[in-house]
């Protein structure tokens, strides 16, 4: 069993399944309505030489993207204007099955989290784990047991490779 990045963060018997980029891409491509939430940690993050924002914008063609307000400026400068809302606020909306989504088409089937402080993401995943039917995936560098699916604990370079791989697999679908 994978040990959470913060080793004491063991919630109970129900813990996330570790996924490779291939499996993650497969799962995500099968899901109907999906959303990716990007936190303040993506600031300054690069994948190879490219800013991660470029990859996220690529991904926004496949799924709804919501970013932390504190990183919105980076996207505006790139000419994009994703929805920007605090992760606590968005998670609160997500836990309501009746919520109509940011596009008015209904709540989401799966939500992926990326770039949040570890413990904050863990807590938000916990909200959805216990109080919604939404499936969750953690795409950060560290194993998040409260998600349904999570990347393993990874070294920086491994994670970059994983993330790049995931995006290209999703784009190929």
């Amino acid at each position: 069993m994978t040990i959470p990045w913060f080793s004491a963060n063991i919630p109970g018997p129900k813990q996330a399944r570790v996924v490779t980029p291939e499996i993650a891409a497969k799962i995500l491509s099968k899901v109907g309505r999906k959303m990716m939430l990007c936190g303040s940690g993506i600031k300054g993050q690069k994948i190879g030489k490219e800013p991660i924002q470029k990859y996220i914008l690529d991904l926004s063609k496949e799924m709804s993207v919501v970013v932390a307000p504190s990183v919105l400026k980076d996207f505006l400068e790139m000419g994009a204007e994703p929805v920007a809302k605090g992760v606590v606020e968005v998670t609160n909306l997500l836990r309501d099955a009746e919520w109509r989504g940011f596009d008015g088409k209904g709540n989401y089937d799966m939500v992926a989290y990326l770039g949040f402080p570890y413990y904050l993401e863990s807590q938000m995943l916990s909200v959805l784990k216990h109080f919604s039917d939404i499936k969750t995936m953690s795409l950060g560098r560290f194993y998040q047991p409260n998600a349904d699916y999570s990347f393993d604990n990874l070294k920086e370079k491994e994670w970059e490779k994983n993330f790049e791989n995931l995006i290209s697999l999703l784009r190929r679908k």
């Binding site: 109970g12 129900k14 504190s70 919105l72 505006l76 998670t91 609160n92 916990s126």
Partner: protein, 773 residues
Amino acid sequence: MKGTKFKIDEFESDLIKATGLEITVGRIVEEEWEEILGPTPMPSVTDLRKWDFALLNRYKPMYAPLCDLCCLCTYGKCDLSDGKKGACGIDIGAQQGRIVLLACCIGAAAHGGHARHIVEHLIEEHGDMPIDMGKNVEVEAPLVRLIAGIMPKKLSDLLEPLEYAEGELMHSLSATHTGQEGYFTDFESKALHVSMTDQLLMEIADVAQISALGFPKGDPGAPLVDIGFGSIDTKKPVILCIGHNVVPGAEVINYLRDHDLYDKVEVAGICCTAHDLTRYDKGAKIVGPLSKQLQFVRTGIADVIIVDEQCVRADVLQEARKTGAAVIATNDKICLGLPDRTKDSPKDVIDNLLGGAPGALILDAEKVGEVAVRTAIKLSETRKRRALNVVKEAKKCIQCGLCIRECHNNLDIPRGMEKAAKGDLSLLSEIYELCIGCGRCENVCSKEIPIVSLLGGAAKEITRKERYKVRSGRGPIQDTEIRNVGSPIVLGEIPGVVAFVGCPNYAGSSKEIAEMAEIFLSRRYIVTTSGCAAMDIAMYKDEEGKTLYEKYPGNFDAGCLSNVGSCVSNAHIAGAAIKIASIFAHRNLRGNYEEIADYILNRVGAVGVAWGAMSQKAASIATGFNRLGVPVILGPRGAKYRRTYLGRPDKSEDWMVYNARTGEKVQISPSPEYLLYVAESKEEAIVSIAKNCIRPNDTTKGRQIKLTHYIDLHKRYFGKMPEDIAMYIRTEADIPITLKAEIMKILKAEKWEPRITPDPTLLERLCRKKEVK
């Protein structure tokens, strides 16, 4: 039976006819205070349940379990995931409410224990002194008046509300027992209740110590005192006081004064005891907030460490052992396994400590004063402060990476070690700046490297220069100040009151809190602070080398920074909001909680910010403010409290109030949007603070001012106009003039329609006219 009170609205017998009779067994309620008694003096656990439900209906709790299990009784462990219930029938939602209630009870108990000790001690030592909050403070104890319905005149008058709060605490705590409360909203109502009594307890403690110990009495010009490692004169013997109860530390100062030793010994403090020591004597030094505790103890600068209560590291004795400092435990809450030397002669205890005993438990404050001073003087002559070879220690590191996984802030200690091993201490020194001093990294280090000491060693040059000024805690806000700001706050012309409070469990740099404070000071909000947050605000200087306390006056006024004092002084921030309702708006206080909270929620644009909230006390403090109608924003770690109270601006039906003028139900702007929110970043918090200062009652001019700040900060940090702006415009007159064209375009696109500005209330009984159907 003492203190049992009953009211009889109407009574008629052959002999007596009475109305409005109120009897307290043990004493007759004195009717010196002419104010009419409101509906809920000393409310029971359920008396304000309706108010709580009105809040919880709009601000629904969002639970984020930190653990899926419960292990509170022998039926357990129970796994509550996937909708499973525990063997007792509880579900995961109720279980979260239960844990939150437990945290609030623990927090209230900590303040209550402190209050009980200090009131009894002060009466014993100083006699039944009059309560005196200074010449401009007539409403001496707004929370006691509001909640207990009592106007205290002397210290012993505080015993009745204290007893009341202790009783409520017992009832609330009992509800967490297996087989008691079972539904989340009722757990929440009890959490709100016990946290309200927590505010009462804080006020009792601070009113007593201000009255009896000569602390500043609502003085905006309270002295500027020294804070920071660099302010401690290490050439003198040093006595360090850690905790929240000033009594033993004050006795140290008394002993020094009485024995002509005042200038010969350094008295310093960490955490709220430090604040209160400087309120007692401006010559005392503040080392810093809780996050500096382990670092400072490790420096070995302190010869004697006095611990009183709350926020003391459980391993203080082992840590002191490493440096040869003697520990004196002084309070029944923290005895540390030490022998009780209360009845022994000071000489015996001192000899024992000098002979190498690690510490002593002395439950007599006066004796603590003598033992601490004489021991410190002697120990300082013989004790050697050991220097640490950072490079040599860093070379032991095997890059296993275990430390970084334990670190709250994911600080890259291994890389810091790698560099340090080559003689470059810069990264370790940078890490020091972000370290909250928890020591968890060390616990797992494969090579048993004293990482915390290495960080301190690497940053030695910086810490030596850490010398700042903080304004000593002023205590209450003056009634005259409230008269000046009441109207502009309620009308919205002062854009808001922002209170930075709480612990230093920050996710980023401790400087963030000062940066946030300065943003609102420069925009002429009223900024107030207390506790560790007040210390961290001080530990930052501008280009001219000035701290915010030197730059901004200590008044409770626009563009001013008032430090009310220690944790228990938080009561004065609540008190200021209450006094706005009573002094400015002439609402009755006495036993009239619901109406005052309703007033504050709808009219007083105040926001609390607990950026590094850590303790159970911080949980009860925040929840107490929430019941009073004040929203609180927490830093990202606050998510681990498991519960937030969040409004849904997208649900217009949640934002209906009565218009007290007509009795009609009317739509308001979603404000305050949250009662308890967790912000991921400083930027998110800043914008959220500005938005949550908006209140339904703002005048158009006030709304314009508040929106100007909200929009400006939103544009600055997020790069665009807020998307929800139309929700906050009631009439065109609310639109900031310079933004008229831009906003009108948005309003048109959103098919906006004007709304009235009601006389807002959630309480139907306050409507002057009932709705005509």
